[in-house]
């Protein structure tokens, strides 16, 4: 065995450093705690960038043994281009959400609680990194629980009745999800005797070839899939989502919607590709998933149309978008998985922008987020309205934006597969695009429609450089994903090809 090169030593420190920052944060003063949060997430982005650069240019993946003994006896991390890319996006979104919600953070969180908020944020960063990199199912479970509790704390950041109720509902549904996941992984471990993905995959394939333990293996994968589906709010399990996303502070809801739920899905992608093998057990599960995702895409949009509050509408549109991601996974081909990962990227960058901009528009409209109150809000907060428009266009699927590219790749994957799935996916895309136009553009246009009564007193325009910076970078990210969609997709495909 050879020693690691310098950049290969990054991954464990990208997990241990946030853990240490969390401990330090909890005893700091408010200002220092916020500085720690910001510096930590910026550093995390840089490290992810370095990892992506090296893994991508050399087209390799490496494992990092957490201790002297690696697989199959000890914990391991694995980093490849896909992990680094997804991790980079997540950490970038966390950084930008923090910046974009900087002002609201000051208003919403009492100074004597900021240190705890900072600790929770750091722990969430650690959990995100660990879940993206881990090569071990049980480690994934431990960090799933950290992120569940962290998300609960993020929801509670504003101290109102709604938040508490939303947090309670969130916890209940997520505990069900992690319970199912834990039972599934225990069953899998009891059948195969392994917890690390490569060994697990080999053992599962061997068992499947002999046709032993057919039903228990199938059930264990089904349990894990259902657990992740509940935790990431696939359609019939979405009940916790709107309250949780729409009531908390801007940074929290952006992080919750675009990082927390997506990292579970990325974990599921890893389980499917690395532990199950594409064809062995996932076929039958994919039929179930396909059905849920198909219904979810439409029902999420239908729910979104019926909302009268903007934040709830954005939250419900997440249900539809998560349906897209699961649709890609449920196709069960490599192209489908690549499209799903691409949609994770596109949706994260668009949705965090929508939440940040929406929150800003809401405060421009004196804290109301009903559509009549928002009319003409573009005048008071032009940048936020513009960002909202870009995000909405991206989700609708206008060319040159991330959402369009991901819809194209999804339909390409479906066409390549053919059969009834192709027809259903294409129909689903058409219907939901029409519905998206209905609710997102209606809202965006409303922002730009001038109010009837001329308002004489303008709100004193506050300059908010961090917000402007965050919006700028997010807009560039959306454009970048749209214009350079091809190369990014090729990276993902390459990464997925060396996944197994």
């Amino acid at each position: 065995m050879m020693t690691m090169t310098w950049w290969q030593n990054f991954p464990p420190f990208m997990i241990v450093a946030p853990l240490m920052c969390a401990a330090v944060c909890s005893v700091l003063k408010a200002k220092a705690a916020r500085a720690v949060m910001l510096v930590l997430s910026a550093l995390e982005c840089c490290c992810m960038g370095v990892l992506l650069y090296f893994t991508q240019t050399r087209n390799l993946s490496f494992t990092f043994a957490m201790g002297e003994i690696g697989a199959p006896f000890g914990n391991e991390l694995r980093v490849g281009a896909v992990e680094a890319l997804v991790g980079l996006l997540f950490s970038l979104v966390m950084f930008l959400s923090l910046l974009g919600g900087w002002k609201q953070l000051e208003d919403d969180i009492a100074p004597n609680r900021m240190n705890l908020y900072g600790a929770v944020f750091c722990l969430l960063t650690a959990a995100m990194t660990a879940m993206t990199f881990t090569n071990d199912l049980f480690t994934a479970y431990v960090f799933i629980e950290i992120s569940t509790i962290a998300a609960c704390a993020l929801i509670l950041s504003r101290n109102m009745g709604w938040n508490m109720l939303a947090a309670a509902r969130y916890m209940i549904m997520n505990l069900l999800g992690s319970g199912l996941f834990l039972l599934g992984l225990s069953m899998l471990y009891c059948l195969t005797g392994h917890l690390l993905f490569p060994q697990l995959g080999a053992a599962v394939r061997a068992l499947a070839a002999e046709n032993r333990y057919d039903m228990p293996l199938y059930l264990s994968f089904l349990l894990m899939t259902m657990g992740v589906a509940i935790k990431s709010a696939l359609y019939p399990f979405h009940t916790w989502l709107p309250g949780a996303y729409s009531t908390s502070t801007a940074a929290s809801s952006a992080i919750l919607s675009s990082v927390v739920s997506k990292m579970y899905i990325f974990l599921l992608v890893k389980v499917f590709l690395r532990a199950a093998g594409v064809d062995v057990f996932t076929r039958r599960i994919e039929d179930v998933l396909f059905l849920y995702a198909f219904v979810g895409v439409i029902m999420g949009s239908v729910h979104a149309i019926r909302q009268r509050h903007m934040m709830r509408m954005i939250a419900y549109s997440s249900v539809a978008q998560i349906g897209y991601i699961f649709l890609g996974i449920a196709l069960g081909t490599q192209a489908g998985f690549a499209a799903a990962v691409f949609h994770i990227l596109a949706h994260s960058s668009a949705k965090s922008m929508l939440f940040l901009a929406g929150n800003r528009l809401q405060s421009a409209a004196d804290g109301h987020d009903t559509f009549p109150a928002l009319q003409g809000a573009a005048k008071k907060a032009p940048l936020a309205a513009f960002a909202f428009l870009i995000g909405a266009l991206s989700l609708v699927g206008v060319p040159l934006l991330g959402g369009f590219a991901s819809k194209v790749y999804l339909s390409q994957a479906a066409v390549a597969l053919g059969g009834w799935r192709m027809v259903l996916v294409l129909a689903d895309l058409l219907i939901s695009t029409a519905l998206n136009v209905g609710y997102l553009l209606r809202c965006a246009l409303r922002l730009y429609r001038p109010t009837e009564k001329e308002e004489t007193e303008h709100n004193p325009k506050t300059k908010d450089a961090p917000f402007a910076f965050a919006m700028g970078v997010l807009i560039v990210m959306n454009l970048g994903l749209g214009v350079f969609g091809g190369p990014v997709l090729r990276w993902i495909q390459q990464g997925i090809a060396i996944f197994m």
């Binding site: 609960c152 109720l165 225990s186």
Partner: protein, 124 residues
Amino acid sequence: MLSQVYSHLDELTAVALFGIGFTLLLLDKNLMKKIIGFSMMDSGIYLFLASYGYIESRLAPIYAEDVSESSAYVNPLPAGLVLTGIVVGVSVTAVMLGLTIRLYERYHSLDIDEIAEKIRREGK
């Protein structure tokens, strides 16, 4: 059939516990009972793991003085996993209890629907 049930008794108990706990957590309206359900569900999983870690007529995984062959001890890994799981379960229970205390303090109810109703009346 009966002998098969008998030889899987521990695991069957474990999954029954899991199912009951799951249903309680999902469908009961009372927050305290939900937490009880969660504990039952988790205990079911620990029992499940621990019972698969057991192998008849073998020693616990602590080195005894004169026994050194590896086939004399049971697999130590499930015990470690259960330990980790228990700690995680305790933390989550604590968070849920804190939330429940907070909601009860404010709305004097443990029924989640009633709490929602009260919050709705209170206005946003």
